[in-house]
């Protein structure tokens, strides 16, 4: 296996089969199918034999499953957590994007961030 093949990008550019998602999340295939029924997981492709998901769901799903174990929660709660975790991630992405577009002087004081680029005057 090449080095590149060993690295999987856990975002929308890659997909995972239900078998692989079961392996990486620790949930059984029937539990994953139950999450699909709840609407918490949406397959990007559904064939007669398998379900295929965006690899973007791997990290929040693993997080939700870890919380399930940590607090002894039921599967329905995993679905709820997955919704919220994905929403938090989307919002964090939006905040980062808006912060990047704000000029430096508009950033709050004491912010650990980049300095502006200054050309010498005239």
């Amino acid at each position: 296996m090449t080095a590149a093949a060993q690295v999987a990008w856990l975002d929308a550019r890659e997909t995972v089969t239900v078998t692989e998602l079961s392996r990486v999340s620790g949930l059984t295939q029937s539990e994953l199918e139950e999450l699909v029924e709840y609407g918490a997981l949406a397959p990007v492709q559904r064939t007669q034999t398998t379900l295929v998901f965006s690899a973007a769901c791997v990290a929040p799903l693993r997080h939700a499953v870890r919380l399930r174990t940590d607090y002894d929660l039921d599967l329905f709660m995993v679905g709820m957590l997955l919704d919220y975790l994905q929403r938090i991630e989307d919002l964090e992405k939006q905040v980062r994007s808006l912060k990047a577009q704000l000029p430096k002087h508009a950033h709050p004081p004491h912010h650990e961030g980049p300095e502006p680029w200054h050309e010498p005057h005239g």
Binding site: M1, Q6, V7, D72, S97, A100, P114, W117
Partner: protein, 305 residues
């Protein structure tokens, strides 16, 4: 194998019912969860209560645990001989097996039905955050990760491919703990964060930076040398450029790992000299007298209507 007192870990009596055990566990889990508390001993405590609960919540595992009798915490003991058969490895030594692993394997065997032979176990997965510079995100980089695994401290060199952005997650297949009994090796999950850069602010694969202009550069337009991650380039500032305008340098952002690049945006702000020379003051006065430009005209019109 060392004995662990799971009842003491959860602070419940040995005859506590399932509901009381669950309640005690959840209370402690809230207190010691790594998302809540970050100190080293709370992490160990969380692991300890998790291990205790994993056994005590399962009636079969709890019954097997109770079979071991009551012993002092940490006492060396040998599991009953018939457990080797239950464990699925006749004659297999328990020497390098932790008590929690043993109950985990027993649980797997029961779930998996009547199998024979050792139960395949996946290697452990590791999750870790890695902070890389924008330059390394652009070009890719090798980083050393330190892990604490069964064999002690382990350093692993991993390659971050070019094209990662803030918040990117990567899975390094088979780089985690070794699988047992034919189980697959574990994985490493990396959470990438980008170190703050003195000039650029990343937005996915786009980069933003502040470009200060003198009033006359903004008014007349200018060719200005600006920084990019690959070295300075000339940017054409068009005449009458307003403060806040974004000037795009197409394809000068971060590599996206698929052969393309994001864009680079210069966000203009118009700066003023802290003090004006006599000559500058004269010229500005002359400009003020000659110009009919009123930057508040639109606002004034809106106010009037």
């Amino acid at each position: 194998m060392k004995y662990k007192d799971y009842y003491a870990a959860l602070g419940v009596p040995r005859d506590a019912d399932a509901e009381a055990i669950k309640k005690a566990y959840r209370k402690l889990a809230r207190q010691y969860h790594p998302d809540v508390s970050k100190t080293a001993d709370t992490e160990a405590k969380f692991k300890e209560i998790g291990e205790a609960y994993a056994t005590l919540k399962d009636p079969e595992k709890r019954a097997a645990y109770d079979e071991l009798g009551r012993r002092p915490q940490g006492q060396e003991f040998r599991p009953p001989p018939d457990w080797a058969h239950e464990f699925g490895a006749d004659g297999q030594s328990f020497e390098n097996v932790d008590l929690s692993d043993l109950f985990d394997m027993l649980g797997r065997r029961h779930r998996g039905g009547a199998q024979h032979g050792p139960v395949p176990m996946h290697g452990r997965d590791y999750e870790t955050a890695v902070r890389v510079s924008l330059e390394d995100a652009q070009r890719g980089a090798k980083v050393n990760l330190n892990f604490q695994d069964e064999g002690g401290e382990r350093t692993l060199e991993v390659t971050i491919p070019p094209g990662v952005t803030e918040g990117q997650r990567l899975r390094l297949r088979g780089k985690g703990g070794k699988g047992r009994n034919g189980g697959a090796d574990g994985d490493i999950y990396l959470h990438i964060t980008l170190a703050p850069h003195p000039v650029f602010r990343p937005d996915n694969h786009d980069l933003h930076f502040d470009l200060a202009l003198a009033p006359w550069e903004a008014a007349l337009g200018a060719e200005i040398e600006v920084p990019t991650l690959d070295g300075p380039v000339l940017l054409t500032v068009p005449p009458s450029t307003r403060s806040g305008r974004k000037l795009r340098l197409r394809g000068r952002g971060l590599a996206n790992g698929k052969g393309g690049h994001g864009d680079l945006y210069a966000i203009v702000h118009i700066d003023m000299p802290a003090t004006l020379t006599e000559r500058e003051r004269e010229l500005f006065k002359e400009l003020a007298a000659a110009s009919h430009f009123n930057p508040r005209a639109v606002a004034a019109k809106e106010k009037a209507s």
